[in-house]
C-alpha cells in the first residue's frame, strides 16, 4: 500500500449562468481522471503549463476543493467525501506549501504566531512547548530563531518561503504538497530553496507532490515525473527515463522548449515549436486533447494500422495499471466507425470522448512503482 494513492481523481467546475435547479452552466473539467501513487520519502513531480489542472489537482488532494469523482487515500484512509471535522484529524499528515510567499502569510501575524497556530488548532503541546517547537522549526529551515517575533514584511521573498515551509512542517506531515514553491523567487534564491527541500526530505522522510511548470527544477527535486495536459496525466515515468527518453509528443515538445543557459547548445538544438494554444478545458477537442497541436498525429487518410501497433506495444509494456484508461493513447486517431468498440467508463460524461477500454494509459513507459 502506498502512502498516498490517488485514483481517477476528477474536479469539475460549473461556470457561467445557471438556470432552473442550477442546470445550464458549462462544465469545466479542470482535473479529469488523474491517478498516481506516492511512497514515503519519495518525490513525484507534476508538471504542465498553465491551465493543465496541476494546481487544481493539488488543491483537491489536500481537501481545499471537493473532488467531483475519484479517490484520495492517505495511508489507506479515504479522504474524499470526509466532512470538515473528519478532515481535521488527517490534515496534519498532509500539508501544503504555496507559490506566493507574499500572499500566503498573514501580514498581521508574527512568525511565532504563524508557526504556533497549527499546533494550537490541533491541540499539540502547551503554549511554551509550541514556542520551543516554533524556534526549532525556524532553525530547521535555515532562519535565525531570534527573528521569531518579526512580521512577514521584515523578510525577503526567499525567507518568507522558508517561513511557509516551516509552517507546513509544524504538524510533522508525511506528505508535503508543494504548489510552485520556487517559481516566484529569483534564480539564486530558488537554488537555496530547492536545496532546503532536498535536505528536509532526507531529514524528515517526507514525501513530496511537487507541482511546477519548470522542468529543470522538477528534475532536481523528483525521482518520478508526471506530465499533465488539459486535466489528465499524459506521461509518467522515472526521472531519467522521462528526461532522456520522453515518449509522449507533448513531453518531447515541452522539453525541447525549455531554454538552455548555454548559447552553443541553444544554437545546436532542434526545437519542436508547437502551433497554437492549449485548448479551452470548457471545449476540449474530441479524442486526444493534444491532437490539434500534435506534430506526430495520425492524419486522416493515413492507415490506422501502424498506429495501432504502437498502442498494443504500450499495452504490453504497462502491467498493473489502472484497469480503465480514460484517454486514447497518443497518436491513435480514433476511427469514428470503431467508436462503438470503445466503452465509456461508468459515470463518464456524454462528452463523446472516445474512452478506450484497455490496460495501457497514455504513457507506454508508465511503471508501477
Amino acid at each position: 500500500m502506498s502512502l498516498l494513492e490517488v485514483r481517477d481523481l476528477a474536479k469539475h467546475f460549473t461556470v457561467g449562468a445557471r438556470g432552473f435547479l442550477g442546470r445550464g452552466g458549462a462544465v469545466l473539467r479542470a482535473v479529469d481522471g488523474v491517478s498516481f501513487e506516492l511512497e514515503r520519502g519519495r518525490a513525484l513531480g507534476l508538471v504542465g503549463e498553465s491551465g493543465c489542472g496541476k494546481s487544481t489537482a493539488a488543491r483537491t488532494i489536500v481537501g481545499l476543493h471537493r473532488a467531483t469523482a475519484g479517490s484520495v487515500r492517505l495511508g489507506g484512509v479515504e479522504l474524499t467525501g470526509l466532512s470538515r471535522r473528519e478532515w481535521q484529524a488527517h490534515r496534519g499528515r498532509l500539508q501544503m506549501i504555496f507559490q506566493d510567499p507574499y500572499a500566503s502569510l498573514d501580514p498581521r501575524q508574527t512568525v511565532a504566531s504563524i508557526l504556533t497556530e497549527p499546533l494550537a488548532i490541533h491541540r499539540r503541546g502547551k503554549p511554551r512547548e509550541r514556542r520551543l517547537r516554533a524556534l526549532a522549526l525556524l532553525d530547521a529551515v535555515g532562519l535565525n530563531p531570534r527573528h521569531i517575533n518579526r512580521y512577514p514584511h521584515e523578510f525577503s521573498g526567499g525567507q518568507r518561503q522558508r517561513i511557509g515551509i516551516a509552517r507546513a512542517l509544524a504538524l510533522e506531515p508525511e506528505v508535503l504538497v508543494c504548489d510552485e514553491p520556487v517559481s516566484a523567487l529569483d534564480v539564486s534564491i530558488q537554488a537555496q530553496i530547492v536545496n532546503l527541500l532536498a535536505e528536509l526530505r532526507e531529514r524528515f522522510q517526507l514525501a513530496y507532490l511537487f507541482i511546477a511548470h519548470d522542468l529543470a527544477v522538477v528534475r532536481h527535486v523528483c525521482e518520478e515525473v508526471a506530465v499533465m495536459y488539459l486535466g489528465r496525466i499524459v506521461e509518467r515515468a522515472p526521472r531519467d527515463e522521462l528526461f532522456e527518453r520522453p515518449r509522449h509528443p507533448y513531453t518531447q515538445a515541452l522539453l525541447s522548449a525549455v531554454p538552455l543557459p548555454d548559447p552553443a547548445a541553444e544554437r545546436a538544438r532542434r526545437r519542436i515549436v508547437l502551433e497554437g494554444d492549449v485548448p479551452s478545458p470548457l471545449h476540449p477537442p474530441p479524442g486526444c486533447a493534444f491532437e490539434p497541436r500534435c506534430p506526430a498525429r495520425a492524419r486522416p487518410g493515413r492507415p490506422l494500422r501502424a498506429r495501432r501497433r504502437r498502442s498494443s506495444r504500450a499495452r504490453r509494456g504497462a502491467r498493473g495499471l489502472p484497469r480503465r484508461a480514460r484517454s486514447a493513447p497518443w497518436g491513435l486517431r480514433v476511427n469514428p466507425e470503431r467508436r462503438a468498440t470503445y466503452a465509456r467508463p461508468r459515470g463518464a460524461s456524454s462528452r463523446g470522448l472516445p474512452h478506450v477500454r484497455m490496460r495501457a494509459r497514455s504513457s507506454p513507459h508508465l511503471r508501477e512503482s
Binding site: D186, N195, L260, P261, V278
Partner: protein, 335 residues
C-alpha cells in the same frame, strides 16, 4: 558608431526609507541589428534603466541624476516630452512583460493598432486597417481581419503578446526594447514568441534590448550580455564568452544556481548564499562582497569599476567590475 549609446546613466528614487540609487553609472551601447541581453534579479535596475532611456519613469519619485542617451545624434534625456513621444513607438519601440495590462481592454485591436499609424504616420484609420491586418498576419495571428474587431480579452496570453509585438513593429523601429517579453507565458508559447522575435529581427534588422531574468532565454537570443547587480553592470561580454568564461563571481554564481536539464540531477544546486542587498543601505565597496565566495580585503575598499579584461579567446571586449576578475578569467582561459 553605435545606434544607441547610453553613458553613465544614474537614476535615484527618493523614498520614505531614504535615497535609493536604482541605476548607478550604467553605460552600454547597442549596435544596429544586434540583440543585447540585460540580465539580473529583481531590483537589479534592469527595467528602470530602460524606462529611463525611454523617458517613461514617473518623475518624481524618480530623478535622473546624470547620464546621456545618444540616439541619431540627439540626447534622449534632453528632449522635450513631445519630441520623445514622436520617437517612442516609431524609431524606438517597446514590449512589456504583461500583455494583459499593456493593452487597453476597452478598445478593439484595430483601434489600438491604427492609433500608432495615425500618430506617427498621419495615416487615416481606413487606410491603416489594411496595414494593421498585415502586421497581425506577420506575427502569425490567423485570420487577422477578423481579429482586428476583437477585444484583448478574446485572445489568449500568447496571442496578446503577438499583438504587442505587431504593434511595436508597425513603424519599423530601429530599436526594440523588450522587457521580460515571455516571462508571463508558458514554455511552449515562449518558444513560439522567441522564434517570432528572431525571425522578425532577421527580416527587419531591428536592434533588440532584451531584459530578462531567465539565463536560458538570454543564451538563445543574445549576441552580447550585460549582467546587472544592485544597479550596476557587473559584467559585459559576448554571450558565448559570458556563459563559457564568466569573470565576475556573481555571474558565475548565477550560472551555477540555474537548474539544468543535463548533468547530475541528484547533486545539490550551487546557490549564492544570502540575499541581494537593500539598495537604500548598500554595503561599502563592492555590493556583491557580502555574498561573494572570492572576497578579499580590496573588495571593501571601493566600488570596483567596469574594466576591460584581457581575454584572448573573446569575440568582443569582455568587461567586468571585480578586483579579481582578471585573475579569475586567466585561470579559466586555455593557456
Amino acid at each position: 558608431m553605435a545606434l544607441l549609446d547610453v553613458r553613465d546613466l544614474t537614476v535615484r528614487f527618493d523614498t520614505h526609507h531614504g535615497t535609493v540609487r536604482a541605476v548607478d553609472h550604467v553605460s552600454f551601447t547597442l549596435e544596429a541589428g544586434e540583440t543585447l541581453g540585460l540580465v539580473g534579479e529583481s531590483g537589479s535596475g534592469k527595467s528602470v534603466t530602460n524606462l529611463a532611456l525611454l523617458g517613461l519613469l514617473p518623475q518624481p519619485p524618480a530623478v535622473v541624476e546624470a547620464g546621456e542617451v545618444w540616439f541619431e545624434g540627439r540626447d534622449l534625456l534632453k528632449l522635450a516630452p513631445a519630441e520623445l513621444r514622436a520617437l517612442r513607438g516609431d524609431a524606438l519601440s517597446m514590449i512589456f512583460q504583461d500583455p494583459m495590462t499593456s493593452l487597453n481592454p476597452l478598445l478593439t485591436l484595430e483601434r489600438q493598432l491604427s492609433e500608432v499609424l495615425e500618430t506617427h504616420r498621419g495615416v487615416t484609420r481606413r487606410a491603416a486597417r489594411a496595414k494593421c491586418a498585415a502586421a497581425l498576419g506577420d506575427v502569425g495571428i490567423p485570420e487577422p481581419e477578423r481579429r482586428l474587431d476583437q477585444y484583448p480579452h478574446e485572445l489568449s496570453g500568447g496571442m496578446r503578446q503577438r499583438v504587442m509585438i505587431a504593434m511595436a513593429l508597425l513603424c519599423d523601429p530601429q530599436v526594440l526594447i523588450a522587457d521580460e517579453p515571455t516571462t508571463a507565458l508558458d514554455v511552449t508559447i515562449q518558444a513560439q514568441i522567441l522564434e517570432l522575435m528572431k525571425d522578425l529581427q532577421r527580416r527587419h534588422g531591428t536592434a533588440i534590448v532584451l531584459i530578462t531574468h531567465d539565463l536560458g532565454v538570454v543564451a538563445g537570443m543574445s549576441d552580447r550580455v550585460n549582467v546587472m547587480y544592485a544597479g550596476r553592470i557587473v559584467e559585459s561580454a559576448a554571450a558565448d564568452d559570458l556563459f563559457a568564461r564568466p569573470a565576475h563571481p556573481y555571474t558565475e554564481g548565477l550560472l551555477a544556481s540555474v537548474p539544468r536539464l543535463g548533468g547530475d540531477a541528484a547533486a545539490a544546486l550551487r546557490s549564492i548564499p544570502g540575499t541581494p542587498p537593500d539598495l537604500a543601505s548598500l554595503p561599502p565597496g563592492c555590493a556583491f562582497a557580502p555574498r561573494c565566495p572570492a572576497r578579499v580585503d580590496a573588495c571593501l575598499a571601493g566600488v570596483p569599476l567596469l574594466v576591460e579584461l584581457r581575454d584572448a579567446a573573446a569575440r568582443r571586449p569582455h568587461h567586468a567590475a571585480c578586483v579579481a576578475a582578471a585573475e579569475r578569467l586567466a585561470a579559466r582561459s586555455p593557456a
